[in-house]
Structures are given as C-alpha cells and as structure tokens.
C-alpha cells in the first residue's frame, strides 16, 4: 500500500518518461515540442505534490486559531516561475518551427536532415 500512497509521484515519473519518450522518438518537430512540454509539466506536478502537508491548510494566520498545520506555499511560488519558463520555451520552440517550415518546407526531422545533406 505504501507504494500506492505515493501515487502523485508515480504520475510524475510516468508523465516525465512519456514526455521524454516523445522527445526522443518522434520525428515531427511539433510532436517533439509537445513531448518537451509534457516533460516539463511533470516536474511542475512534482513540486506541487511536495508542498502538500497532510491535514494542512492554506498558510493564512487567523486570530484565535492556534496549532494549525499549514501547507508549504514556497514550491507553488517557485513553480509559477518554472511555468513561465516552460511557456516561453514552448513559444520560442514554435517560432523556430515556423521558421524551419519557411526555410525547408517541412517539419519532419528526416526531411530536414536530407535537405541539409543535399546542400
């Protein structure tokens, strides 16, 4: 049961590998980039999971309430930054793909390599 109790971490690991697999195996640049986005999102999940304290609430100090357990707010703040980084990476990646399409007329990696060989 203990292993199942960590199910969030299992989801993290599986998502991470799904994304990684797509990055390595897919030939289409958009699909590669999607894989990369999944890969990054998995890490967001890991950060969000680790800040949860069992029975903890939002870390707001209330009058008259003592010995309350709070969840850790810091990882959420950290991951907000990482999400922004992830979004900009994806945006930049898509912009590069658009330019690759303009320059090579294809977004399949094999075609691009073949065209580079010719020239």
């Amino acid at each position: 049961m203990e292993l199942l109790g960590y199910y969030n971490y299992w989801v993290f690991a599986i998502l991470l590998m799904v994304g990684f697999y797509a990055v390595i195996v897919r030939n289409n640049l958009i699909k590669k980039l999607l894989g990369l986005a999944i890969f990054q999102s998995a890490v967001f999940l890991m950060y969000i999971t680790m800040d949860k304290v069992e029975g903890g609430t939002a870390p707001i100090i209330q009058e008259g309430v003592a010995d309350q357990i709070y969840s850790n707010p810091l990882p959420q703040v950290l991951i907000l930054t990482a999400i922004v980084v992830g979004v900009s990476t994806t945006a930049l990646g898509l912009a590069i793909i658009v330019r690759i399409k303009e320059a090579y007329g294809s977004i399949e990696e094999d075609d691009i390599i073949a065209k580079d060989r010719e020239s």
Partner: protein
C-alpha cells in the same frame, strides 16, 4: 551605503535595465553603441569585483536586505570572478568586433531586438555566476538559454534553425533535470540557499532522494556544459550561429554550467554523500578522457573551419573536467585556469574566423586556401591563438596544460602516466588540426581568384588585442593563477 557594496547586484541589474531600453532604440548604430557600452560597463564592474576579491574581500549581498537563507543571496568569490571576467570580457570583445560583422549578417531592422537578446544572454550568464541560490540559478540559466537560442538563430544561415531547435530541446532537458534535482533537495532539506543546503544535508536521515538529486543535477548540467557524450547539440549551433555570437558563446556559455556543476559537487554534495567521490573517478574522469581523445580526433578530419574549432571546444571541456575529476588543489587550480585561458584562446580564434568571414562566404578549409597572402594580419592572429590552444610555451594555453600535467603527475602510478599521455596526445592532435588551417591558408594555392581584402580595422584590432592577451597571460600568468588558486582553495576547503 557605499555604491561599491552593491557591485555584485549591479553586475546583473544594469543589464536588466538596459535590455528594454535597447529594444526601443530604433537606429541600429545607437543600439549597437548602447549594447557595447553596457557590456563594457559590466566588464568594468567585473574588474572591480575581481580586484576586491584579490584584496581578500568576499562579496556577499542580500537581495532586498532579506538575510539568507530566506532571501536570495548573491556571492562573488575567486571562482565567480574568473567566470565573470571571461563572460563580460568575451561579450565586450565580441560586440566591439561585431560592428561590421553583424551588419553583414543581421538585417538592420532586427538588430535592436538582437542586441536586446544579447544583453539578456549576458545578464543570465553573469547571474548564474553570482547567485548563491539554487532556484535563482535555474531562472538565470533559462534566461541565458532562451536568449542564446535567439542569438544562434539570428544569422542568415538556414541550417542554424534545425541546429538551434536541437539546442533548445537539449538545453531544456538539461535545465529540467537540474530543476528536478533542486526540487528533490528542497524536499529533503527545506532550503534553496547553497550554503544552507550544505549544512542541512548532514541531517537528512534518508539519503536516497539526495543521491537521486545528485544524479539529476550532474546529468542535467553536464548536458548544458556539453560534456562528452552529451555534446551533440554544440558543433552545429556554434557552426551556424552568427560569427560574433560564436565568439561570445564559445568563450563562456558551456563553462558557466560547469561552474554550477562544480559548485554543487564540491560545496553541497562532496562531503555529505557517502560514495560521492566515486562520481569523479568513475564518471567524470573517463568522460573527460573520451572527450579529449574523441573530440580532438573528430576535429582532425573536419573540413569546416568553425565546426573544427567547435569540436575542439568539446575537447577543451574535457581538459577542464579532467582537472576537476582529480579532486585535488592542483587539479582544481588547473581546471579553473583552463576555463580562463581557453576563453581567451578560443575567443581569439573565433574572432579571427569572424575576420575571415568578412571576405569569404564559405568557411570550409578549401574555401580559405591561400588566404594568408590577402589577409596576413588575420592569419597572424589566428596562428598566435592556435599556438595558445595547442599549449606552446609562452602562451596562456601552456600555463594551464602545465598545471594540469603537474596535477595529474601528483596522482602517481599508472593512472598518472595514462592521463599525461592523454593530455599529450590531445595536444598533438591540436597541433595537427591547427596545422591543417595553417597549411591551407599559407601553402595551398587558391582554387579560385581571391578577392579577399584584409578585415576592417575595428574587428582586426580587437582580434589582435585578444590574441596578444594569450601572450600576455602566457608570460605574466599571475592574475589568473592567483584567482584560480583562490577558487581551488574555496572549493577544496569544503572537503575535510
């Protein structure tokens, strides 16, 4: 408060303030001037910080006056000073030299945006080096990476696009691995400050998450540092990037990731994890040997000038890692010294290549055959820098190879002989590939009529200044050696 107290913060704040202003400058000459001035200003700040460090000052700065470990701490010591000098110096030299070269390669109306990306890349790289906060380092790392993707893709060569896409994929995977590692450490220690982490890792009862974190951080940063065999994004990115961008990135970008890696390995992990020292003997050392031998061998047969030098960079990363993997004072000194010396050697080589590119469209060895007659000064600088790369006595490269070999010999026994042989063979291969350039430039007749002229004075003079720095630091190596010893002391000081 004295303004000099804020130097550590100003190193990046100046750049972040300048970047949006440069976007607004429509005139490209103005944008270039503003960027170059900002870069020179940060170079001056780096020099001021270095002088402070040499006087025994340890810069510690708390952002917004929040004390560590709660706030973000900035820290400059001998190790960071070496990197800061390399980063800001390379950027300033590349920008000063790039006046004509960039005009040739980047459309006029896109230049202000390009320069803004340049400043952001510089800010990110400098930020990684001064920050003492693990998550802050991640943010700076992504700022510098995203900006350098833009820089590499900015040139006219369409082959830069697939190269930069690969760079983006690998760079992001590397940074994400680093993020996972930092997350795991945070989970176990509850802190992001490097110094605080070091103390608290002691008290962690279950070390397995920290070991996993060490693995993720090592692989992620090795990927960003282009440590063999994780280097495959590097040769094409360097080859097809605009020439002065290659000067900038080749001189410092990968070394900054090595810097973070060494910080983590020596400050945070080394003494706290059981069995961590195995990582150096059984992971870094073999990879460094492979990097030196294989990357140099590939450079031997490379036909494209820029790609040959890019492969040589992969080999030089090997020397730097080899020094660190010995885990001794002498080894680390050699390693940090090579970071500095390789930055000026490879910087001046790529500057000379940028000079050649002013006249030659293609940069394969056959294209530049016989160019020495038309461009004697450019080739002179290239040969001088090449000698430094090989490690000929009297040049900067010799000093760091000398230190490296002495460090290796300290090990004693068969391994010392083997590693010395590797370094010597690597240097001999460097002799051969530099000789191939010389042979084509001086002794081969030109295949077609050469219309080349000597490069403009602006770029040529900078190239010579940097090339002569190779000689200067070869004869007067005090400054880098003192800084490297300080750095090595600090790194080893954390190992009991």
């Amino acid at each position: 408060m004295n303004p000099s107290d804020h130097l550590a913060a100003l190193q990046v704040v100046v750049l972040f303030l300048a970047a949006p202003i440069i976007v607004l400058l429509q005139a490209r000459r103005l944008a270039w001037a503003a960027t170059t001035l900002t870069s020179l200003l940060t170079f001056a700040i780096a020099i001021a910080l270095t002088l402070g460090v040499l006087n025994g000052q340890d810069y510690q700065y708390f952002m917004g006056s929040w004390p560590a470990p709660f706030g973000i701490e900035l820290r400059v010591d001998g190790f960071s000073a070496v990197l800061l000098l390399a980063i800001t110096g390379a950027s300033s030299a590349a920008l000063l030299a790039g006046y004509h070269s960039l005009d040739q390669q980047i459309e006029a109306k896109r230049q202000p945006l390009f320069f803004a990306a340049w400043i952001l890349a510089l800010a990110g790289l400098a930020g990684i080096v001064i920050s003492a906060d693990a998550f802050n380092i991640f943010v700076f790392m992504e700022i510098s990476s995203l900006a350098s993707y833009v820089l590499v893709a900015g040139g006219p060569d369409k082959r830069a696009l697939p190269a930069v896409f690969k760079y983006l994929i690998f760079g992001t995977i590397g940074a994400t691995f680093y993020l996972i590692g930092v997350g795991l450490i945070y989970m176990m220690t509850g802190t992001l400050n490097l110094a605080d982490m070091e103390v608290r890792i002691h008290d962690v009862a279950d070390q397995s998450p920290v070991l996993v974190a060490a693995g993720f951080i090592t692989v992620g940063l090795a990927l960003k540092a282009a440590l063999f065999p994780l280097h495959i994004w590097l040769p094409n990115s360097y080859t097809f990037a605009p020439h002065v961008v290659t000067v900038f990135l080749a001189a410092c970008a990968t070394k900054v990731s090595l810097y973070v890696l060494l910080r983590f390995d020596f400050f945070v992990f080394q003494q706290n994890l059981t069995g961590h020292e195995l990582q150096f003997t059984f992971f870094f050392m073999p990879l460094a040997v492979f990097a030196i031998l294989i990357a140099s061998a590939v450079a031997l047969f490379e036909k494209d000038l820029k790609r040959m030098l890019a492969w040589s960079s992969v080999a030089q990363i090997g020397y730097i890692v080899l020094g660190a993997s010995i885990v001794s004072l002498a080894g680390l000194t050699a390693s940090v010294l090579h970071v500095f010396n390789h930055a000026i050697a490879k910087g001046s080589l790529f500057l000379a290549v940028a000079c050649l590119a002013m006249s030659f469209r293609g940069l394969r060895l056959n294209d530049i055959a016989g160019c020495a007659k038309a461009m004697p000064w450019t080739m002179g600088a290239l040969v001088l820098a090449g000698l430094s790369l090989i490690g000929v006595p009297g040049t900067a490269g010799f000093i760091s190879k000398w230190y490296l070999i002495s460090a290796v010999l300290e090990l004693g026994g068969g391994i010392a002989i083997f590693l010395t042989a590797v370094i010597v063979i690597g240097s001999l291969m460097a002799v051969v590939y530099i000789w191939r350039i010389v042979e084509h430039a001086y002794f081969r007749p030109a295949e077609t009529e050469i219309v080349a002229r000597e490069a403009p004075l602006g770029i040529l003079s900078i190239t010579w200044v940097v090339a002569l720095a190779n000689l200067y630091f070869g004869i007067n190596p005090e400054l880098p050696v003192t800084l490297s010893e300080l750095a090595a002391d600090a790194l080893m000081g954390h190992i009991k």
